[in-house]
């Protein structure tokens, strides 16, 4: 729970950015050694690298924009320090960008995403570890053995104005994604990416009930948090897509 990693007396490195950077770097490193990716042509690998770079930029923009919208903050350079990042906003923006890029380059979208899924899991879980160190995305108070007490200058302490133990929802999510990573690495299921997206969306929908940080508002209603709304939409969309793909593969003629 160190928001800033102190180096010397007056210097520090923000823990969140360090872990996000490590996550993306390790994900890219994993990808270089992933068998199916390594067998791609030089041009295809470069195209995917380019697509990933562009989608990371648009992912950050999407995460900022969505957070500003749900928090009711006007998006401008002078307000940047007031705006956080919303993961699901970033995922949606990044994935859309990447898919459009792959389509333009005539690279199969879903099969490429399936190959990249373990790498996505690595960056996702390390990003959430970064959230834990920063103290953001915290859960509601709990007396269970999983409760974690954040330091006095943390966001959770500022929110509750007391030394309370809260659910470390960041770690719950990291552990969940770790299991997803181990599963997709070893399993032989065809639609690894859709499995990741559906399982994460369902997990995220339910964990939102024990999230205590400011969730924001979407479409002027307070029944569902913005992340629950997006999770539900993604889960439904991905489930329908999985069904359509499975139907297509069942009805494909068998070549004798």
């Amino acid at each position: 729970m160190w928001r800033y990693i102190q180096i010397g007396e007056h210097s520090f490195i923000p823990a969140y950015n360090l872990f996000v950077g490590l996550g993306i770097a390790l994900a890219m490193l994993y990808l270089q050694y992933e068998k199916k990716f390594a067998n791609f042509s030089f041009q295809k690998k470069n195209a995917i690298h380019t697509g990933l770079f562009i989608s990371i930029i648009f992912g950050f923009i999407g995460a900022f924009t969505f957070d500003a919208y749900t928090q009711g903050i006007k998006l401008s350079l002078s307000n940047l320090n007031q705006i956080g990042l919303t993961l699901l906003g970033g995922i949606v923006a990044g994935l859309l960008t990447f898919s459009i890029f792959l389509k333009i380059k005539s690279i199969p979208v879903l099969s490429t995403l399936n190959i990249l899924t373990p790498a996505f899991c690595i960056s996702h879980l390390l990003g959430r570890v970064g959230c834990f160190f920063t103290g953001c995305c915290y859960g509601s108070p709990t007396n269970s053995i999983f409760g974690v007490q954040f330091p006095k200058d943390s966001l959770a302490h500022t929110h509750f104005q007391a030394d309370l133990q809260v659910h470390p929802t960041q770690l719950y999510e990291s552990i969940f994604i770790l299991f997803v990573f181990l599963f997709v690495r070893r399993s032989s299921i065809n639609n690894k990416f859709l499995f990741y997206i559906i399982s994460y969306s369902i997990f995220r929908f339910f964990i939102e009930f024990i999230r205590a940080d400011n969730r924001g508002i979407i479409f002027n209603q307070s029944f569902l948090t913005p992340s629950q709304f997006i999770s539900l939409t993604i889960a439904v969309f991905a489930t329908v897509l999985t069904y359509i793909i499975n139907r297509k593969s069942i009805h494909q003629p068998i070549n004798s």
Binding site: I7, G8, H10, S11, F12, I13, P14, N17, L18, V20, G21, L22, I24, A25, M28, L29, Q32, F42, K45, N46, H49, T50, L52, F53, I56, I57, F60, L77, L80, N81
Partner: protein, 124 residues
């Protein structure tokens, strides 16, 4: 077909430097704005302008470094040079006494040098 591989170090260094470069840019802008208020005849507008200049410099360095990290395997010489340039741009923001910019500068410079000394991947 066999392809000679090149080091992944510039990619790792560039990505970490690029992601750390984003808060470094914001810090540089804030530090520059703060420092410029100490100058004789400084106004709030001139302080804000100084802050914006250094913030944009830092942001451009971060994005250039990140792009170099992802694209350097395509052409190590060109993108290695771009990463060195990103390191120099980040180094310019060191005048704001921002330690994070120093870390980013070092990461980009080391990554750039390693990339420049790589041979272009060949397909045998």
């Amino acid at each position: 077909m066999e392809q000679k591989s090149i080091s992944n170090a510039p990619m790792i260094l560039g990505i970490i430097g690029g992601i750390l470069g984003l808060p470094a840019a914001i810090c540089s802008g804030a530090c520059a704005a703060g420092l410029s208020t100490l100058a004789d005849g400084a106004t709030s507008q001139s302080s804000q302008d100084a802050g914006n200049v250094f913030m944009w410099l830092g942001l451009i360095a971060a994005i250039a470094g990140l792009a170099s990290a992802f694209l350097y395997k395509k052409n190590p010489k060109v993108w290695g040079a771009m990463m060195l340039l990103a390191g120099i741009l980040s180094g310019i923001t060191l005048v704001t006494f921002n330690f994070l910019s120093f870390v980013v500068c070092i990461l980009f410079l080391i990554g750039g040098v390693i990339a420049l000394t790589q041979k272009k991947p060949t397909v045998a």
